[in-house]
Symmetry: C2
Subunit: 338 residues, 2 copies
């Protein structure tokens, strides 16, 4: 039976290399060059079954005495991962441009996890000045690193997307992470990490015994999808679709009798931050929403340290909801504040 | 576009539950009942992208002050995983029946990793008496656990396969692990872990934020493959194929002018342990083999503590080699000892 298989078929049955299938790494490198301004070797790319998986490997790879900085507000799963892995971490405040570099320095952290392309959940893009300040911070000590989580960078609606911090880094201090689970479908578990050469060498030496976690036929299929330009066409279509969708949702919000004072996060991603003028606390808003059959998240839930300016801000994630459901939700939400 | 998808298609695009797709967990539970004598709830099954991945989660789940016992000789990747995760471990000797329970007790370890269905690399099956002794050891202290790695249990050529230790455990101390990567194809990354209820509750409480690592359409495909009986038919075919193949290989070894004193591991798996009568050391055997264009592993490489009785034993893994290549390899090997 085995003898009748073609070379290509045999390839599909073979264990993928620990880094991931070469064809896919090459296509990712080409994609990053075209879209994120990054010049990376396919040999510095590691493919894995989800960003969390790769993060686990990264925690094992980075210096053991590292202290991690988590953005506040920021992505809560990250700090759970730190806790789960017994890794020390500090919360560092985020202002309107990104992580505060002075506070980062004061925190004593050595590894900063940031999302410059699309801050979660605030939705802004980090300006160039802050990126440079961050790179200078990393350069100042030998074991400092920046983890650039580029999740959702693809959905930018205004202007040219800013290149990745990784592309500005001359000192090999940036680890770049991204996923296809968000841009293609969450049922697909393929993420990747770009390591500085020195870290990749260490990975090859110490951790190449970890088998690759993504089935190789999925990797070949995705490589072909990228190679033929389908992925970029898909992203362009998605960008157009969500831009128009977002415009309509913003319109619905304005038309509903919601006491809105500001709508943030319109430039990118699939979230809107709707600040309302209310005497209700965030807990009261959540309860009232629950009574109305809505599951609502407030910005304050993503804050470690409470800040009054972040109160009364509802996060509206429109990625996964149909227009009818969203319209109805906005009407019910308005009713709470009536 | 979204509106035109069927319910089934939508299901394929949705994120899998953190434990894995329900249909697949149900089919695995039914398979384990039919083939391994295990009565487990699908709710106690966790699906992941490879055994190593699940092992990582397990190390996070088990008591933090645990000390791990590794079989000596045994699977080397396990101790690398312990080292990589900064987990303390002890080597515990294996005799002809499995891990030595007295030595295990003396080691002070609290979690024992064993492969009773097919010892790697020795190839034997653990007898019932040793299984009971191991369960008694686990029962004696509250935080003792047995990790049953059932890798390669499917390929048993003589007699009825022994049921899993998990099926004999009345005290919820056995964690059962197995994979489809070996039985289907190594390019497919789907493994699973059966947790005692108490541990699964802890997982649900503390670690359910980890996204499932296997793309859901792969899980649905495998569930359907199991449900329709294709997997068991495939295993039966494989068993027949490898039994005959192994017989021919044993014949080749006997016909070649190899100074063989014993061939072990004939009852199960895809490895033969060929003990030769030679004055060459194992290092010399490996070098001579390399010169002859062969990559050879010796049993002593899998031993932490050297034991003279394990010297001069060549491991012949015939899973992945064609008959011609193997025949030629045996002839070249014979030449080394001529």
């Amino acid at each position: 039976m085995r003898e009748t298989l073609s070379y290509r078929e045999k390839e599909l049955l073979r264990t993928a290399p620990f880094q991931g299938v070469k064809e896919l790494r090459e296509e990712i490198a080409a994609y990053l060059y075209r879209n994120r301004g990054m010049q990376v070797s396919p040999d510095c790319i590691l493919i894995g079954a989800g960003t969390e998986y790769l993060y686990g490997r990264l925690l094992e790879l980075l210096p053991k005495d590292g202290v991690y900085a988590a953005e506040d507000p920021g992505y809560r799963k990250i700090t759970r991962l730190y806790e789960g892995n017994g890794v020390p971490f500090r919360y560092v405040p985020v202002d309107g441009e990104g992580i505060c570099v002075d506070a980062l320095l004061a925190s004593g952290a050595s590894v900063a996890h940031v999302s410059p392309g699309y801050h979660f959940p605030m939705g802004f893009v980090m300006p160039v000045g802050r990126r440079q300040a961050l790179l200078s911070w990393a350069k100042a000590e030998p074991d400092r690193y920046i983890i650039e989580d580029d999740y959702d960078c693809e959905l930018r609606y205004f202007g040219k997307p800013a290149p990745a911090i990784q592309s500005m880094d001359c000192n090999h201090r940036v680890i770049y992470l991204n996923t296809f689970s968000k841009t293609l479908t969450p049922s697909l578990r393929i993420s990747y990490m770009v390591l500085p050469e020195k870290l990749m060498d260490r990975y090859v030496q110490k951790m190449n015994y970890y088998s690759n976690t993504v089935s190789s036929f999925e990797q070949y299929a995705l490589a072909s999808f990228l190679k033929q330009g389908f992925f970029e066409r898909h992203i362009n279509r998605m960008r157009k679709y969500y831009r128009e969708y977002r415009n309509r949702i913003v319109q619905y919000i304005k038309e509903a009798s919601l006491p809105v004072t500001e709508i943030k996060g319109q430039d990118a991603g699939t979230r809107l931050l709707v600040k309302v003028d209310t005497t209700l606390t965030d807990t009261q808003i959540k309860w009232a929403a629950k009574e109305a059959g809505l599951k609502v998240e407030c910005l304050s839930e993503f804050c470690h340290e409470k800040r009054p300016e972040y109160d009364s801000t509802i996060i509206l994630n429109y990625a996964d909801l149909s227009e009818e459901v969203l319209k109805e939700a906005i009407l019910r939400l308005a009713h709470i504040f009536a």
